[in-house]
Symmetry: C2
Subunit: 243 residues, 2 copies
């Protein structure tokens, strides 16, 4: 017999206690406890943002493993935030969450919640949200593409890896550009190749750039210094994206 | 120059507006918006639970893709919840969250938050929390082992797959028993083999059972009807688990 916990207590209170009530039961419940978020991030706003009324594209930058933890300044030491610190200008917003763990993968539901907060606080063009990630951030980029498929116009995983079985859940309208070095001794090139080939089999808009002779640490800068990446990225647009 | 948004507004309000203030800036912020949870689940309490004061082991059951969605009764149609509905008794609690998506992977941070709610509401032996998952739930089991390594004494992925690069983040004290059918045409056996071999290379307590001639749908029942699994499972204990 299956009974809820409260009805059982009520029966006992009424003196109608049934010896079977101590027996096994399987009940349906709902958890409404929230997942707390305390995600640190850097936010870059471009020249002219403060004085305009326009919406801007937004790039999510997911750093590699070395910048995880609680010291947000570490995030400035690599990738897009480092380029910005060194004076580079971009014509889009950059949202750079810090993985709170130094060891584990990104908590992507928290990253998504923080992204929603940023996208509703700043003037973001919802049809032009892009994710770029390196290494552990590359795994995060693949995971975001699979788990929140309706949000990203383009996904750029650099030296990452992921779950090929769920690539069929990614958005048919999204564009993928995958980068990997041929001499990567940390995450093998084959990880990107498997995912890329699966995307092509699914008839997705996907391209793969293999940087010959480049190792794991080299591929991050080689990719971000490729001017063609930025030209390509800003042309991507997700028609019908949620506003 | 880097400035926070509020100081900039304050400067403007004071009439000290600096033309440079409209320039690009990169600021550090923190997102405190919570991730809402409305995770449905089944909870099984064993014979004697209601009248005892003991703590019990807890099994997390992660169903395969077919039971996802919002109809909680679907979760009763497979796996451990189905065995319970059919009258089988277990000497442990069973927490069976429903994947709210019919297509995507489990939202594992929400699953973890609901697990914490259950473990603090019921009398759960924290050193004996186990996760068993089939197919998409097998992917969930591997993901939980990697992302919440301090919680599970044993992990049993059935016909799943996952991320071999982060297996070094799993708990050295946890035990793994991996099941897969040799005739699986949905998730290939090699997915489990790769993960198992990586665990062995990491010197983890891991075993692999390949069910000869068994296909994807057959491996769920073959595993759950293996009496040795339950004997083995209940012996696993995570010393020093958080209470």
């Amino acid at each position: 017999m299956l009974r809820g916990i409260l009805p059982l207590a009520a029966i006992a209170a009424l003196g109608l206690f049934d010896p079977e009530a101590a027996n096994a039961e399987q009940v349906a419940l709902t958890s409404t406890v929230s997942v707390k978020n305390e995600l640190k991030y850097l936010l870059y706003t471009p020249d002219g943002y403060a004085t305009s009324t326009e919406s801007y594209p937004l790039v999510i930058w997911l750093h590699g493993g070395d910048q995880g933890g609680s010291d947000i300044d570490k995030v400035k030491s690599s990738g897009i935030p480092k380029l910005i610190e060194d004076g580079k200008k971009f014509p889009f917003l950059v949202f750079s969450p810090q993985n709170p763990s130094e060891e584990l993968l990104y908590p992507i539901e928290k990253v998504d919640a923080a992204l929603e907060e940023v996208a509703s606080t700043y003037r973001v063009d919802r049809s032009r949200i892009y994710v770029i990630g390196f290494s552990r951030g590359g795994f995060g980029a693949w995971a975001l593409a699979e788990q929140f498929p309706d949000k990203f116009a383009a996904i750029v995983p650099i030296a990452g890896g992921g779950n090929r079985h769920y690539l069929n859940r990614t958005n048919e309208k999204a564009a993928f550009w995958v980068f990997h070095g041929s001499n990567d001794g940390v995450i093998p090139l084959s990880d990107s190749v498997v995912l890329y080939e699966r995307l092509k089999a699914l008839d997705r808009n996907a391209r793969l750039t293999v940087l010959e002779g480049v190792d794991h640490s080299g591929v991050e800068w080689a990719t971000l210094n490729d001017a063609e990446l930025w030209d390509w990225l800003l042309k991507q647009r997700l028609e019908g994206a949620p506003q």
